[in-house]
């Protein structure tokens, strides 16, 4: 059975926590996938929403962020779309190199890619689709530690 949630969020960082908790709470779950939803999905969704509001929409309070979440058997898919011009996700540097490790920012996209099974941007770069498989028995700690 497929369920879909769609939100139009104001460009307000303060609403991210509530939105993410609402979505995670609506995902039907069992014990074995609880950690994937709690860690991998929750953190990645926070990252995608904050990137959309800060970088995509440039903190403009008049813009909005669209969040679409689809829950299917065995996977959850979230699409976050902002109203910005987009960016090139391949130009984001690796935050784990010695040169970048002590920088304050630059870990959001990296975490999404580590924690989700698939991270895909549209051509414009203003919409990201996150996919997490919930029932394949993969390690829960992210690809880097698998």
């Amino acid at each position: 059975m497929e369920r879909e949630l769609v939100f139009e969020l104001p460009n307000d960082l303060g609403c991210i926590e509530e939105a993410v908790e609402f979505v995670v709470g609506r995902c039907s779950t069992c014990q074995e996938v609880a950690r994937k939803l709690r860690l991998n999905f929750r953190v990645s969704l926070v990252e995608a929403l904050s990137n959309a509001m800060i970088y995509g929409n440039g903190r403009d309070p008049h813009k909005r962020v669209r969040l679409e979440v689809t829950m299917e058997m065995g996977r959850v898919v979230a699409r976050v779309t902002d109203q910005g011009r987009g960016f090139d996700p391949d130009c984001v540097p690796d935050p784990t190199t010695p040169r970048n490790l002590t920088k304050e920012g630059g870990r959001g996209l990296f975490l999404m890619r580590q924690l989700m099974d698939d991270v895909r941007f549209n051509e414009q770069g203003n919409s990201v689709t996150l996919t997490l498989h919930l029932s394949d028995g993969e390690a829960l700690r992210g690809k880097a530690s698998a």
Binding site: I16, R38, E47, S50, L101, T102, R141, A144, S145
Partner: protein, 110 residues
């Protein structure tokens, strides 16, 4: 997120309750910088009651650690749950911080 500032000898201990994420990270930053301004140099952030952190929360800890070191101080972390440890390991920030299993362990020899 709420946090509490306590003293353990000459160490300033901050307990973080809830999530440390993009919407509230500045509160923690301001609290630590205020104490640094007052002359405190030893800081411990205790994550016993913390659910999760995002990249902004991690970034604030990196930034604070740098500012404290510039003042010849130190920032230590304690009591990370399994999820938090995973985030520190994935980002390799576990190599940047002194992370203790408990508050008591972190305070030893501080």
């Amino acid at each position: 997120m709420a946090f509490h500032v306590n003293r353990e000898g000459d160490v300033t201990v901050l307990d973080v309750d809830g999530q440390l994420i993009v919407g509230n990270r500045q509160e923690l930053k301001k609290a630590v910088l205020d104490e640094l301004e007052k002359g405190e140099r030893k800081f411990l952030v205790d994550f016993t009651n913390t659910g999760y952190i995002d990249s902004s929360g991690l970034g604030v800890l990196v930034s604070l650690s740098k500012k404290i070191r510039e003042q010849d101080g130190e920032l230590r972390l304690a009591s990370l749950n399994e999820d938090l440890r995973t985030l520190f390991e994935l980002t390799k920030l576990d190599t940047l911080f002194r992370i203790a299993d408990s508050r008591e362990e972190a305070l030893e020899g501080f």
